[in-house]
């Protein structure tokens, strides 16, 4: 049933792209409305920063608008958008690292702050304290994710959070499916290890 729905939406996406090519800006607006949150979420998880993610996603759709004439339709619209987003997000990180900007929190600091936050979040009362612990857990998860190398992180986000297939991830990342598989395996192992150290797992 979900597959049928996805197929219908893919056809719908293709029609929207065609309308965009014919100068129908409202069709492009519909594509933006349809995918802005998904793209934004991926970029947010990849960058770990809403502000940066907003800039990148804005640019993603500007680029998409400009290059929609060259969109061949061989891939799905959202994988196309993800691939644009992945490139722009990686460029963003590269520029930030060149500027010496390092948003990463030290692992030692994180360990000191949040030992066993997953357990505490699960067992605590439904109070503001629980919400705070939940917030801490989310930050720890994001922090561990941010420590992964770019291609591991992106593969994991696309698979676990966005539920893309290996083939789709390969399409977005421009790599073989086997590479996606190994990257995901490596990403999970790394996360498992780090979250274990944080007593989250």
């Amino acid at each position: 049933m979900v597959e049928v729905f996805e197929t219908a939406r893919t056809h719908s996406d293709a029609r929207l792209v065609e309308q965009c090519r014919n100068g129908d800006d409202s069709a492009f607006d519909e594509l933006v409305r349809r995918y802005k949150d998904r793209v934004f979420n991926v970029v947010c998880r990849f960058l770990g920063n809403r502000e940066d993610a907003l800039d990148v996603v804005q640019e993603v759709f500007v680029r998409a608008y400009r290059s929609i004439g060259g969109f061949q339709g061989r891939s799905k619209v959202y994988t196309w958008l993800y691939s644009i987003a992945a490139n722009l997000a990686r460029n963003r990180l590269r520029d930030q690292s060149r500027k010496g900007r390092d948003c990463a929190v030290s692992l030692e600091g994180l360990e000191a702050e949040a030992p066993g936050i997953a357990q505490r979040a699960a067992t605590a009362d439904p109070t503001p304290r629980k919400a705070l612990e939940r917030k801490e857990l989310e930050e720890a998860l994001q922090q561990c994710l941010s420590e992964l190398q770019d291609h591991y992180r992106l593969a994991f986000v696309l698979r676990t959070i966005e539920d893309l297939s290996y083939d789709e991830i390969a399409e977005v990342m421009g790599c073989p499916t086997g590479t996606v598989k190994s990257r995901l395996n490596h990403a999970r192992r790394m996360l498992r290890e780090r979250l274990g150290q944080l007593e989250v797992l």
Partner: protein, 395 residues
């Protein structure tokens, strides 16, 4: 398959991406290995943790930001366009530069303020020796007046006599004597001419006999081949040994009658006394009167002309000399009902009638020809090194 091998497949197993055969082997191992089964549980929990992370939603203003960025983007594209269009401005700038140069040349050549000339002429006119020459000049200009009338088919554009310093200048120019002109330049400077006469050729003064207005111009001290050409083109008689005048000039025929008329005028009656002087050099150039055959004699008349023009200066503005025009960077002078391109010196002409196939072909091969044809019905111009006379269509 040991534990390490099995755990390498956990990721794909969780994602449902394992080959059936590999999956079966992994499941067999898990059935026997609790450690690996527990580790697989941790990985499932890991995925669940990340899947339960709240999804970040794009801010409400994302769409408007995208729209704004796209507008800015299109503006940037629009702003870039003039950079390309700027290139196309170069021809316009070049054309403007050419126009300025041409206009400058025209002003320099034809629009020289007459006050310079008049001021100097007034000074020199006080010299008694010039009075006789002045009389002759007056007659000459009167002759010119008649010629103008003839050229205009009896219709004079100005109710006042076409007597002026310009006419005098014309006659002076038509002397065609280099020495005389050079002398004129010297005299002009000696007499306090603010702006020394230059060697620039006032071609149009020699040739233009039509009714259109033209600013007077001081005499030029030198004569170039081009000026000689115009002398001939204008049908002006020249001294022996010089380039023979164009025989078809109507001015030569007009001269005797004018001379006779001049005899009637009291002032002019003084002229004959001076006609024997070198001052005669000037009038003959305009008409049939034999003029200074000897170059040294040409100088005094020039001086006289300067003085004469002062006495007729008030009428200077009345002199109507056809203007030159510049079309497609080419200079044309109007005389005797025809626009002549600068440089024409009696070369054989190929007559082309308007409306003819030949003209159409010429137009097709010469982009500037249509503009030239707009000068007037009759145009003499050079195309591909050949001279053509464009004539009205046959009736």
């Amino acid at each position: 398959m040991n534990c390490a091998d099995v755990r390498d497949e956990f990721s794909a197993l969780l994602d449902g991406e394992l080959e059936p055969e590999t999956r079966e082997r992994v499941e067999r191992h898990l059935a026997e290995c609790t450690e690996c089964l527990r580790e697989l549980g941790k990985l499932k929990e890991l995925d669940e943790l990340y899947r339960t992370l709240p999804r970040e939603s794009a801010p409400e203003d994302l769409e408007s930001r995208i729209h704004a960025a796209l507008r800015l983007d299109s503006n940037i594209v629009r702003l870039r366009r003039p950079r390309f269009e700027r290139r196309s401005l170069w021809p316009m700038l070049a054309a403007a530069a050419v126009l300025v140069i041409v206009m400058g040349a025209v002003v320099y050549q034809f629009g020289r303020p007459s006050r310079f000339e008049m001021a100097s002429l007034k000074e020199t006119s006080e010299q008694p020796a010039a009075e006789a020459e002045a009389a002759i000049r007056m007659r000459v200009t009167e002759d010119m007046e008649d010629k103008h009338s003839e050229a205009l088919g009896g219709v004079r554009s100005s109710p006042e006599p076409l007597v002026s310093a310009e006419a005098q200048t014309l006659s002076e120019e038509s002397i065609g004597k280099d020495e005389a002109l050079a002398k004129a330049g010297e005299l002009a400077q000696q007499s306090g001419l603010d702006k020394p006469v230059t060697g620039k050729l006032p071609e149009r003064q020699l040739s233009d006999q039509s009714a259109t207005a033209r600013q007077p111009e001081p005499p030029a001290p030198s004569a170039s081949p081009m000026r000689k050409d115009f002398d001939r083109m204008a049908g002006l008689k020249e001294a022996p040994g010089r380039v023979p005048p164009a025989p078809e000039s109507p001015q030569a025929a007009a001269m005797p009658r004018d001379e006779g008329r001049a005899q009637l005028d009291g002032r002019r009656r003084e002229a004959p006394a001076s006609q024997g002087t070198p001052a005669q050099a000037a009038p003959p150039v305009l008409g049939a009167i034999p003029h200074a055959a000897a170059k040294p004699k040409a100088a005094p008349p020039v001086e006289a002309e300067e003085r004469v023009s002062s006495s007729t200066g008030s009428l200077e503005r009345d002199l109507q000399v056809a203007p030159g025009k510049v079309v497609a960077g080419r200079q044309f002078q109007f005389r005797e009902g025809t626009w002549y391109e600068s440089g024409y010196t009696d070369e054989p002409l190929t007559g082309i009638r308007r409306g003819s196939e030949e003209l159409r072909q010429l137009i097709a091969n010469h982009d500037d020809l249509p503009g030239i044809l707009e000068l007037g019905e009759r145009v003499v111009c050079r195309l591909d090194g050949e001279w053509y006379r464009i004539e009205p269509a046959a009736e």
